[in-house]
């Protein structure tokens, strides 16, 4: 129910705060999503979408930080972490 799926903003439509929307691509499947709660979202950003509403932009630095933190804790010695590329689709 609280499922939210990350998708990439590929087109922004409108500028009225209550009606501002975006076309968001979920690995190629594009849906219309409200940006009312995420006015900071811009083209190319990843947003977390829940029941048709973007509830957050995904912070790419924090996403990388998670993997860095895990590695620094020494818990993941010997693991070859996949690189996190914020620009990837």
């Amino acid at each position: 129910m609280c499922l939210a799926v990350p998708g990439k903003v590929v087109e922004i439509i409108g500028d009225d705060p209550l009606l501002r929307s975006a076309k968001v691509s979920f690995a190629g499947v594009v849906k219309l999503v409200s940006l009312t709660c995420t006015p900071e979202a811009k083209l190319g950003d990843f947003v977390l979408v829940h029941v048709g509403v973007a509830i957050s932009t995904v912070d790419p630095k924090e996403a990388e930080e998670t993997f860095r933190y895990l590695k620094e804790m020494g818990e993941l010695d010997g693991i070859d972490l996949a690189p996190v590329n914020p620009a990837a689709p």
Partner: protein, 368 residues
Amino acid sequence: MKYVDEYRDAALVHQLAAAIARVTTRPWTIMEICGGQTHAIVKFGLDELLPKNITLVHGPGCPVCVTSAELIDQAVDLALKHGAILCSFGDMLRVPGNGIDLLTAKARGADVRIVYSPLDAVTIALENPAKQVVFFAVGFETTAPANAMSVLRAEREKVKNFSILTSHVLVPPAMRAILGSPDNRVQGFLAAGHVCTIMGTSEYGPIAREFKAPIIITGFEPVDILEGILLCVKQLESGRAEVENAYSRAVRTEGNVHARKIVEQVFEVCDRDWRGIGVIPQSGLAVRPAYAHYDANQCFLLPHTNGSACTECISGEIMRGVKKPHDCPAFGKRCTPEQPLGAPMVSSEGACAAYYRYRSRAVESAAV
């Protein structure tokens, strides 16, 4: 899919599980609040990767599961007797009320429609000006902005034939109720990540301190969940009880201020009856009087029914972490997804449905 695949990396998952085993010296019971996390834990078998002295119990974070039978009865009444177009998330249709469920109402000719978003229900109202359209607004804090937006959109579009039947619930009061219960066995929490995306982290510090229970804000993918468990066990082992954010790519300390503003504009805090648990004070959201004309409970005369719907269902004990689905004698026998006795067997995020789908064989072999 970006921000999903890298958090399902099998090598990372096993390494995190090994790290949890290294730091665990005593038995601990940890509750994940959110049904989405429960589903991921059971689907990916994450609990089976943990040391035997770590017990995960499954919390009440499934809005479909905690919506009262009375509200189901009211939704059925709206669709059948008042002739409204009743729009709902799909999971709600098979939840038993005190009478029939919404799917049966639909079979009897009621106009019950599944929508993806509450905003779709406003569109249906615009397209059907001669009919009343009611959206069954269930959900936790995560869904409250979208449900509030449906009211604001209806107001903006001057839609007069739209209202919402509200069954909103809030996480922090439920955590307090669980921790304060005499039979509580929860020692630490994985807090629901997307609830915190909206509300931020400030509500959890007082709970962690008062009940001496670590609270880790946790995401939904396997790496997220195991990282949450690792941080929780580390705190428990060292006697700390703090709030930590293990989902910082989606959760800011202050939450989403734009979303919170919309929620506060439309809703106010109220007492709420949680199915299987009972009334928890100040644990729900109701439509503010200023928006009463969008509140189905104000627009229609709705029945007030009492009753526990099914006395055999132990969902309340499961959602408080006291029991697990396979402790229920009806599980998989008299209660199945096809013929559910209780809501957690209906919802895709209900603990019973997750165990039935992914653990039936294990339960059968254990019973032999």
